[in-house]
């Protein structure tokens, strides 16, 4: 990365808005270039001077009372202007009962596939989120002996962390994520330009479950359950290579 590019992207970097690759390039450049590092220090200092809270105007307490009162008056006034007649209430109640009943039936009947689908959607969302924000990793490291201990104390289980760099899948780091109503471990790997997210959490099910693959929104997903651990892998990588990676991962565990 040149000094010129650095100057253009420095604010994105200071604000933590760059993607992982450019973030790493930026870090490298700042280590090597004292001039750009100085500019970086200045903007960081400026940030802390404007964000330390001393410039924040707190709303006076009377304002909250005033706003509440106006809202109350507005709501009360409009209610008086549009009273809902009794027969309308009956219609509303009937529609409500009907729709609750219908939803209930559908919910009960479709609970199983809906749960699996929901999970797949959550996995894809987690993957997309990790690519969008500059929050791909909490612990960026290619060393599994750094990544694994990082999870200690943050999760109630310890995920297996392996590097498959020799097979072309480079470990980039780990992060905490929230899926399926619980905190899960996310491991990030890279294959050429493709990023892979591996999401791991302990399962309540006793039995193992064979590998299954699917495609959602253009992303490929593979998931399985082994030794009481649920594993989901998601990436835009082609299904063949993703399958190879899943095999490696499963054998490793």
């Amino acid at each position: 990365m040149s000094c010129h590019e650095t100057q253009e992207l420095i604010h994105g970097y200071v604000d933590g808005e760059l993607d992982l690759v450019r973030n790493l390039e930026m870090e490298r450049h700042l280590r090597e270039c004292p001039a750009c590092a100085g500019v970086h220090d200045t903007f960081r200092a400026l940030r802390s001077a404007t964000s330390n809270g001393s410039l924040y105007f707190q709303a006076p307490t009377r304002l909250e009372q005033r706003v509440r009162k106006t809202l109350q008056q507005t709501a009360g006034l409009e209610r008086r202007m549009h009273p809902i007649p009794i027969y309308r209430w009956a219609t509303i109640a009937a529609v409500l009962v009907l729709s609750i009943a219908t939803t209930w039936r559908f919910a009960v009947r479709r609970e199983q596939p809906a749960a699996a689908e929901l999970l797949a959607q959550e996995v894809v969302a987690s993957h997309v989120r990790s690519l969008m924000a500059s929050h791909l990793t909490d612990v960026p490291s290619s060393d599994r002996h750094t990544v694994k201990p990082w999870f200690n104390g943050k999760l109630d289980f310890s995920p297996t962390v392996e590097d498959f760099a020799s097979r072309g899948f480079n470990l980039l780091g780990g992060r905490l994520d929230y899926l399926n109503n619980r905190a899960v471990a996310a491991l990030v790997y890279r294959r050429r330009q493709h990023l892979l997210n591996v999401l791991i959490w302990p399962s309540r099910e006793q039995s193992d479950e064979a590998m299954q693959s699917m495609e959602r929104q253009g992303y490929h997903l593979v998931h399985w359950r082994k030794s009481h651990m649920t594993v989901w892998v998601v990436s835009d990588l082609n299904p063949q290579e993703l399958g190879q990676f899943a095999e490696l991962l499963q054998r490793g565990q």
């Binding site: 200045t42 903007f43 400026l46 404007t50 410039l55 809202l71």
Partner: protein, 177 residues
């Protein structure tokens, strides 16, 4: 149309952002009196639109309303300071020098920073307020201000360049005072 239940839901979702609303209005109007009026008006407008609000994060949504109310107020009151110098191009940003002096200046005390921030064009000022005081992401700022994400970065870049200049020129004045 809002009934009491709707109002309760609204209050629960939106009233916690009263400080954020006031802070933004205060920075965009420059005085407490108008800021309070604007916050009150914004909450009324928000209540009206609340039925159509589907998001989960009501803060950017509310702040967008506050911002628009502020801009309407500014137009009505003919506050037309320096929107002219706005140049959204990212090129030619003053990236500043890196001397220890500027670093010292940048960490200048509250009052000097406040004066400098008040002198910024309103579009730059709002970017700084949303980013530094509300800790919003570029995406959220873009939503509030109704501009592309790239523009958020260039506005912040220009705002910081300008702040740095202002703080640098502030220094001698303080020294002689």
């Amino acid at each position: 149309m809002p009934d009491q239940a709707e109002l309760a839901r609204f209050e629960q979702a939106v009233l916690p952002h009263l400080n954020a609303a006031y802070n933004l209005a205060r920075w965009l109007t420059g005085n407490e009196h108008d800021a309070e009026d604007i916050v009150q008006e914004s909450y009324l407008r928000a209540l009206k639109f609340f039925a159509g609000f589907r998001g989960e994060n009501s803060r950017p949504w509310l702040l967008a309303i506050v911002r628009n109310t502020c801009y309407t107020w500014r137009q009505r009151n003919r506050v037309s300071e320096l929107s002219t110098e706005l140049d959204e191009e990212i090129h030619g940003i003053d990236s500043g020098s890196a001397s220890p002096e500027t670093i010292l200046l940048a960490s200048a005390q509250g009052e000097a920073v406040q004066r400098a921030l008040e002198q910024l064009p309103v579009e730059y000022r709002e970017a700084v307020v949303l980013r530094e005081m509300e800790g919003m992401s570029y995406r959220e700022i873009a939503d509030v201000a109704g501009i592309p994400v790239g523009t958020v970065m260039s506005r912040l870049a220009r705002a910081r360049g300008r702040l740095q200049q202002l703080l640098r020129s502030e220094r001698p004045r303080e020294a002689t005072a």
